[in-house]
Amino acid sequence: MQINIAKKSDAKEQDVTDERIYRDRRSLLKKMGFVGASALLSGSAQADLFDVFSDKKEPGFKVEPLKFKADKQNEAMKQTPEQKATHHNNFYEFGTKKSDPAENAQNFKVNPWQLEVKGAVDKPLTLDYDDLLKSFPLEERIYRLRCVEAWSMVIPWVGFSLASLLTKAGVGSKGKFVKFTTLKSPTQMPGQANRFKGGGIDYPYVEGLTIEEAMNPLTMLAVGIYGKTLPPQNGAPIRLVVPWKYGFKSIKSIVKIELTERQPINSWNQLLPSEYGFYANVNPEVDHPRWSQASERLITSGGLLSRNRIPTLPFNGYAEEVAGLYKGLDLRKNF
């Protein structure tokens, strides 16, 4: 007999998708479609249906289906609809509005790609586009994603543990931190070419983790989402996912992973040090200076009237797995 002991972070009964509601929403959309074509100007769920009426060319980017091991343990979690997760992105390289990346990133080139793994590793590596998808067995992981702006999503990522890659490169004793860098390509990324479009960030975008955080089995490199390769607005071709930290830690479109002796300066911390720290662990007790972090709005299907405000959990609900990493650290100071 198999006995399942539930971890705190496992899906709960209330997270289960109500398939009927989800389907109803779609059919409602279809029924209304031709009555109000303009009704879908802002990122419609039925873009293809209205291509006749609009000259929007989206989506131009082709995603491919992936083979992976499904996340059976969390399959009951109510996922954010794919359309929402792929049209509500903070990726300032493509503009500061949530809808900008889906609009501006469709011509982004991900193949060829080069991801360098270097610094204090035994064996520096360079992975090309195919290596990213084929070097490690891919698995699905359904994680909560908590943005520092107090909204959240539930997203099925596809990828592998960062630890697998770091182990392959050989982690010596010198590397205390891992520094990640996004591609810099102002011709493809309008936010990097114009200060106002990019929100004032000093590009390329940089993030960092301690080596212990990087080696934690929850920390993953994602190459896919919803069973397919990542669309560019979600960080194609490869991005970091650290589910117990605020979303800005999960850096997108990575070209460089370096093991360093010193703590790297991450981009948001550099821009606004009083508002964004290095650790950025999800913590309902430490407010952002300009808003409360005690609760969040979970973005799922459902309109204005859905009651989607939920309490924020310490470490985004992954305390059991990661709280030990921070023993003796003052999380109020090290926010």
Binding site: R25, L28, L29, M32, A39, L40, S42, G43, S44, A45, Q83, K84, A85, H87, H88, Y92, T96, K97, K98, S99, E149, W151, F196, K197, G199, G200, I201, L271, L272, D287, R290, W291, S292, A294, S295, R297, I299, S301, G302, G303, L304, L305, R307, N308, R309
Partner: protein, 210 residues
């Protein structure tokens, strides 16, 4: 007979006012109805809550700017019918401000009133927003002709608070964004343009208070 027709103005003053007011009612209400209809039916992008709060806020600010543009335009082009429709525009700015605040409380905070109270106290940009709302409420309440007559000279003094409001609203906006400051800066610029039209009056006001 044709000459008779030519002599008569195509539209009388009261007709012009009526038509313009009808236009204001229809467009201001249509925008709101359309917005909430889409938001409720989840047709407004990924996060209808944020969209509704943002759109009503920006809509209110746009209406305030339009309201402030009325008197310079009416003076320049001698459009007294426009001047006589100004109050309606101001009242719609107030309606949008109400919707903005109520949507924040109802859909963002979902009636967590203790959170609302603590946010108003703790977050400067929300404090500024509430100050603006109180001022707008005061102006809306004193907008009927009856109040105008009763208040006499003080009415104009009271309604000069619009010049403060038009600077506080972009401040509230600027303070609320993460680092994408372009749009708030454009609104600051437009606010200064509106104040520039009234530079003599404002200089006088400042001299009196000093």
């Amino acid at each position: 007979m044709t000459t008779d027709l030519m002599k008569k103005p195509l539209l009388t003053m009261s007709r012009k006012i009526l038509l313009f007011k009808a236009f204001v009612h229809i467009s201001a209400l249509w925008i709101v109805i359309d917005l909430y209809y889409k938001a409720i039916n989840d047709l407004l992008g990924s996060d209808p809550v944020k969209e509704v709060i943002h759109s009503t806020g920006i809509g209110g600010l746009n209406l305030l700017l339009i309201t402030l543009a009325v008197s310079p335009l009416a003076k320049k082009f001698k459009l007294s019918w426009l001047m006589r429709s100004r109050r309606l525009l101001g009242l719609y700015a107030f309606l949008y401000a109400c919707l903005h605040l109520v949507s924040y409380a109802a859909f963002e905070l979902q009636w967590d009133l203790s959170l609302l109270t603590s946010e108003i106290i703790k977050r400067p940009y929300i404090t500024v927003g509430m100050v603006v709302f109180s001022l707008l409420l005061m102006l809306a309440v004193t907008s009927p002709d009856y109040c105008k007559r009763k208040l006499g000279k003080r009415w104009q003094k009271l309604h000069n608070y619009n010049y403060l409001i038009i600077l506080l609203v972009p401040t509230h906006f600027y303070w609320s964004v993460k680092s994408d400051v372009l749009e708030p800066l454009i609104y600051f610029f437009m606010a200064f343009v509106m104040l520039y039209f009234r530079r003599d009056k404002i200089k006088q006001m400042l001299r009196k208070t000093n």
